[in-house]
């Protein structure tokens, strides 16, 4: 269980997965396993595949519960801007928000075939991760990403944002 926790975190840590999320899943796994087996020796003999299956099912249930428990107040709170502008004040935060919105608008206009790849890349995912998520070849992702970023640059330049150096 400890090793599995470490593995989950090693996969998701780079993209903002919190330890509390993982601990919630593993706590749910422990409870489920204990409810079914009740004998320490039996539990110790359970293989990693069993833990994985239980964790997969537990994580889905946790997300369902979270969504169901979400109140209107919380939903509104989620929409409240909380940009990483630190102590730069509301004006700077608003300016940054508007700037991000223009980037999002430019991304929204990209063709369907490239938009998801560009979104993932901008969100911090690497080419290999994107290829894995789409179950396609990394070379295909590289091509889609390059064309998508070139097009995004053109759009942003037209918007007065740039010049932008396309690295991919």
């Amino acid at each position: 269980m400890v090793r599995y926790r470490r593995m989950i975190l090693s996969v998701g840590f780079r993209h903002g997965l919190g330890e509390s999320d993982v601990d919630e899943v593993l706590q749910e796994v422990r409870v489920r396993i204990w409810n079914i087996h009740r004998v320490a020796e039996t539990i110790q003999s359970l293989g990693p595949s069993y833990v994985y299956q239980t964790a997969a099912s537990a994580s889905v249930d946790i997300l369902r519960r979270r969504r169901a428990a979400r109140t209107g107040v919380e939903a509104v709170a989620e929409l409240t801007p909380n940009l990483a502008s630190g102590d730069r004040g509301p004006a700077a935060a608003l300016e940054e928000r508007e700037f991000a919105d223009r980037i999002f608008a430019a991304v929204d206009q990209l063709p369907d075939s490239r938009r998801a790849v560009v979104r993932m890349y901008l969100a911090g995912y690497g080419r290999r991760e994107i290829a894995h998520a789409l179950a396609c070849a990394e070379t295909k992702v590289r091509n889609l990403l390059h064309r998508g970023l070139v097009e995004l640059r053109e759009r942003l330049v037209r918007e007065g944002i740039g010049p932008l150096e396309v690295l991919e």
Binding site: M7, L17, I62, I103, A135
Partner: protein
């Protein structure tokens, strides 16, 4: 602005984008994270997921759980290496056995196959009469000397209790390669040396 700066701005903007009512169900996220969708479906869904930080975080949790489940355990991770090492050991052992038990020049030195041909050397070309010689083998009752022609037909098969045998005139052709070996006959078994080739030159 370079790409890193663009990514930072995008991620800062993304961090506050979370719809009150998610446009993707948990079941769809689960299907995406467990690779149960086609590439087109996955791309369309990821486009929606990545545009909403709340969805992205939910996807990230499911993705991490699935990916961690696919990471081989330490034992499974070392399995290919262990198999390769076993294979290497097996090959080495086979090589050593061949070196120890089957010496050069067709000599067999195992406990049940200790017959070492002495002369003539392999690929010899000699005038008749030729004396074939081998080392004695402990426990041998007798020896059978066999001479085969180019197509594997036995030209000569003689038994002896001696450790030499003289190939007589007649019966063998000049200039043709023959193979010969010695079979050691024990009370309840027999074993044979590796063959050697010899060519007779008849004056």
């Amino acid at each position: 602005m370079n790409m890193d700066q663009l990514r930072r701005h995008y991620q800062a903007g993304l961090a506050v984008r979370s719809a009150a009512k998610p446009a993707v169900t948990v079941e769809q996220l689960e299907a995406l994270a467990s690779h149960r969708l086609s590439e087109t479906e996955a791309m369309a869904l990821l486009d929606r997921v990545m545009a909403d930080d709340g969805l992205r975080r939910e996807y990230e949790l499911l993705r991490s759980v699935h990916e961690a489940g696919r990471v081989p355990s330490p034992a499974r991770r070392w399995m290919p290496l262990a198999l390769a090492a076993s294979l290497l050991l097996a090959v080495s052992a086979t090589y050593l056995v061949q070196r120890v038990w089957l010496g050069g020049e067709g000599e067999m030195r195992g406990p049940s196959a200790q017959v070492a041909l002495v002369s003539p050397a392999d690929q010899s070309v000699l005038p008749l009469p030729v004396t074939l010689a081998w080392r004695p083998v402990a426990g041998a009752v007798r020896y059978r000397v066999e001479l085969l022609d180019g197509i594997g037909e036995p030209t000569l098969s003689e038994e002896t209790t001696d450790t030499t045998f003289v190939v007589p005139f007649g019966g063998v052709a000049s200039g043709m390669p023959y193979r010969w070996w010695v079979e050691v006959i024990f009370p309840s078994s027999s074993t044979r040396s590796a063959p050697r080739t010899i060519t007779f030159s008849i004056p």
